[in-house]
Symmetry: D2
Amino acid sequence: MAGNSFGDLFRITTYGESHGKAIGVIIDGCPSQIDIDEAFIQSELDKRKPGQSKITTQRKESDIAHILSGVFEGQSTGTPIAIQIPNEDQRSKDYSHIKDKFRPSHADYTYQVKYGIRDYRGGGRSSARETAARVAAGAIAKLFLQKHGISIFAHVSGVGKLEAPNLDLSDMNDLVRVRESNIVRCADPATAEEMIEFIDQVRKNGDTVGGRISTVITGVPVGLGEPVFDKLHADLGKAMMSINAVHGFEYGSGFAGSEMLGSEHNDIFVAEEGKPTQTITNFSGGIQGGISNGMDITFRTAFKPVATIMRDQATIDESGSETTISGKGRHDPCVVPRAVIIVEAMAALVIADHLLKYQSNAR
Amino acid sequence: MAGNSFGDLFRITTYGESHGKAIGVIIDGCPSQIDIDEAFIQSELDKRKPGQSKITTQRKESDIAHILSGVFEGQSTGTPIAIQIPNEDQRSKDYSHIKDKFRPSHADYTYQVKYGIRDYRGGGRSSARETAARVAAGAIAKLFLQKHGISIFAHVSGVGKLEAPNLDLSDMNDLVRVRESNIVRCADPATAEEMIEFIDQVRKNGDTVGGRISTVITGVPVGLGEPVFDKLHADLGKAMMSINAVHGFEYGSGFAGSEMLGSEHNDIFVAEEGKPTQTITNFSGGIQGGISNGMDITFRTAFKPVATIMRDQATIDESGSETTISGKGRHDPCVVPRAVIIVEAMAALVIADHLLKYQSNAR
Amino acid sequence: MAGNSFGDLFRITTYGESHGKAIGVIIDGCPSQIDIDEAFIQSELDKRKPGQSKITTQRKESDIAHILSGVFEGQSTGTPIAIQIPNEDQRSKDYSHIKDKFRPSHADYTYQVKYGIRDYRGGGRSSARETAARVAAGAIAKLFLQKHGISIFAHVSGVGKLEAPNLDLSDMNDLVRVRESNIVRCADPATAEEMIEFIDQVRKNGDTVGGRISTVITGVPVGLGEPVFDKLHADLGKAMMSINAVHGFEYGSGFAGSEMLGSEHNDIFVAEEGKPTQTITNFSGGIQGGISNGMDITFRTAFKPVATIMRDQATIDESGSETTISGKGRHDPCVVPRAVIIVEAMAALVIADHLLKYQSNAR
Amino acid sequence: MAGNSFGDLFRITTYGESHGKAIGVIIDGCPSQIDIDEAFIQSELDKRKPGQSKITTQRKESDIAHILSGVFEGQSTGTPIAIQIPNEDQRSKDYSHIKDKFRPSHADYTYQVKYGIRDYRGGGRSSARETAARVAAGAIAKLFLQKHGISIFAHVSGVGKLEAPNLDLSDMNDLVRVRESNIVRCADPATAEEMIEFIDQVRKNGDTVGGRISTVITGVPVGLGEPVFDKLHADLGKAMMSINAVHGFEYGSGFAGSEMLGSEHNDIFVAEEGKPTQTITNFSGGIQGGISNGMDITFRTAFKPVATIMRDQATIDESGSETTISGKGRHDPCVVPRAVIIVEAMAALVIADHLLKYQSNAR
């Protein structure tokens, strides 16, 4: 069944394989009269594109976004916005060695059995290259949210067993600046340095490592989220789990919160005249009963280590016989530095969709 | 916007408030000619119902399921199955003390702001009472899955900082037997004893505590899951996050996997003639690229502590003034023993929905 | 696949068989703080219920609507509104003669082949009894639309070859009064008399006859409709075609318009200061490019003759053998008098859904 | 709200404006291992493209389909198939005269009010140019249906008051041949000649005229259609009503059937050993209770006259002032000859979607 769309009112549909002609996305439901800043879209794609540094894949893609429809004289028109990103560096010959073999912990085997056919080149549709389309769509969503004073910030908070301390969230612009000043995209400079050194060591060993991304969303009004199934955090959870390599999601207090007592965990309300209602703590992660409560929305996402390692591994081929697969191709030793912008994009899409739902609730 | 439906092809819609006349569910898309075993549905509801033991709420509800449609001569007919569960023990007077006050870490405040009106009695729609409807629907899904050899098993693997050891999954029937032999529903008897003692202590302190539930699904064929957004684990994640009090979800290696190296984490394929393809380890949790790979599907869900504690707490009222709320009513000191069956129900609904999608893929 | 829901934002799901315990509906997405007038809901159901006159079926059902959820202190709360209508007069013995036979032009054969099982009593799920649930939901939609100044009026404009003249739409209240003053629900008294006489004759012959219903919707603002697929008239068309026995739908100029020249058919705009933009003619039926233009929305729906006739007919049984089926049971000689309120209900549901979509478009 | 997708399991999303860079479509949910015959797709597009004859618009577009994804080594892979059609002949200068004016019976006014902005060039998104994307998607659907022995045939059965006699449907290949042998695409040669002469006369008068298209679908198994809302004919109706200029839809006996008696209208079943069950007549149009019954599916679609005429017309401008609009540009005097293939495409999409739903029903 069709599974390549996300969102209900602000809805995207992506297409494209790693080594096909192009990848792309249709954004349907974007409100009209949003200023579409193409330079911003490109700057977002640049944060995800390969070849940025020594700790990302050396594949070269310029990832240029072409807007084909839905924008007129610089503004969205309310009609579908189609964005296309041509594939350039396709080197299909790199992949002949996996034509008939299933790479461990990749999607080769499951795609082959499910569909009876697969575009094996670079993982085909299962490649994380598809996420460039999500980033382009997420950029449009961010432009819409910006009009409503909503911002999203994600950074690499963990790599392997390394973990960044909690951030002071009072100056978001500065956090972005610090994050973008280092190649691992961690907003704590000291931890960033350790992470980079560690990833570089892992890379030299022909290995890969997992990591974690923490996100905060500010400026969300009270009322986003549609109980009892389309709770705001449930849709954020699905969005995050749909990103390649993600194995875990938690919001607010998360797994740690499940070890706490109610008397510790409850967020006590305070209200000052003329100010919005706040809670002293925010173990709820800005969401109560599935509906935003006006506090910062916080969540964390766990990424497994990249499956492609530069080592020989035992595996099987299409006939079911044992064989060996060698580590070739150009891959990331750690996916989280480039995934930061994907997490932000998916979060933006969820919030944009729920903002439209919230608007539809007008009585 | 409408958010009370879950699933696409095997689709449920629930209704009902904690202290209204009834709660219920419509199951639309259940295949025809499934034997509908009403005793089984009731036995599932009995596992969720309140008043089971000293560590659950003392509210009394017999939670009797009435099937109103969609079943003829003991079999599903392919038309919507409506199940209704009357509310009996409504004691609305218990809730007058929260009519104008917002309970901390409950949904009172967000519902009030979002909708401008709320049924404050027992939390209204935000009450976990709604999950009885999910359990009834999940029972139907299990009857369908049973025909296809698919089983779901969940148990309480953690309460507070207590954690059960990993289980031997070779004898699922025995695990169910052990789990049901203790009131906390942990399949490890020694840990169960500790958990019960701990929860009872927490209860006596007028406090509550969070916990964790681990789930395994067996017998799923290769091919369930619809990339790139409706990945099997993304839909499982959304299903779990939609359950009251859930703050975290992870599958396979989960958050721990994000600390590992690729060389440790990759699941190596093995194939023996005449047997299905297997992997030696299962860090992938039975899912690769969003599609089931034939191995056991494993995931874990984190529940925050119940927000209602038997203590006075500072809070605000509808006018924004500071006030105190006292702990009254009948509530669970720990939600996970009763949530085990809710987790199983939501998992069954996801798998049933994806099984129908899988069938639709026939070429 | 699940096909028992209608609408996206204002969404209904119906359940129930002709001779089961109850039929009903869940309305999900109804905005909060709508005054829910139960007497109005009941008055709507009374217009559809059987046994109203000599030209409708003699089956007796009081069709009492029970609201189970979603309403608190007389107002909608934004949570699902469940309405249940018990079945009373079930006389299942009437239907034993069709247990193994397929009635001509009924759904017996197709349900049996599709599902492998069917509740043959009174047509089971395929019975028009299901439309009572639609009428109840439509009443809720009307209460919502009323707040926005939107009204819907339908009447019987044709029976067999009899056709009412075009109505003067300037006094809608009077049209309702005239329509309700005769048992065929035609707003032209002279034609109504002819229709009643004709239907009564048809009934005495043990036969049935088809008819047509014309509808006008007033007060719709400019902007409802979501091109290019969810055009307002496309959703109205689907809504009408989903009603039992409907074989045709046209809006504005309809089939007759396809015989016209462009120079005759174009609706010329006129604008007076301080007044909304109007067109001189309204061949567009109030919709241009799939979007409402502020003029009256007009459409017409064609109903085939009821398939159950009081005569012997040749047919086949489940084994494929030839047999004869006799005309028994209690059925309508002409369906349109009772269908007027069903048409209005489905129209109200479409407009309510599109009004919420329109609100979500806010920039 | 997002309204640019059609279908649930076999789902298309289109994009593009008349004078933008490109139009296109994503087909999501097409089963894998379908042979994708690009020459066939192109031949379908050629039947819709402008500039075919003296009775169609003189706009020149080669309408070349580029497949960007979802096809590997000539077969569908089960991933989204993106097809792009560049816009070539954009002559935007032709449209400066309508920049600030609303053309009568076009969508200029409603788009402007709904979205606050519109791409006025050639009607922008409301242009029938968008239907080229539907034709490309419909071609994919036909390739899938062909594997299942399902064929779709449409032809122009009426222009203005001219009406073709009923066709002998026994030799479908011959009907296609006859239809394609004349520029009006009517399968009755004598009527075709009259139609062409009439349209040419209308064109010379600077006028336009409406028409009707009749469709038959053969080879559909018993069981497609999902009551009670997603009835097969309800989805066909919505599909047809979503096509530009369509004002009416009827299936089987249609509006004429509403004038008949039940004793005339009932389709009597006959069964011969070893043969599928048939009915003697087919007033049901191959659908009973919303589910296909194995007979030919028949329906008819009415198109209003094209709104652009080569004459001066009174209208208003964006400021609400009266003005005159002159007839310029390149337009069709009658839309039905090119619409035949659009009708077939939308029908193919509905049947493909319902075939997947039917497959999902497997028990």
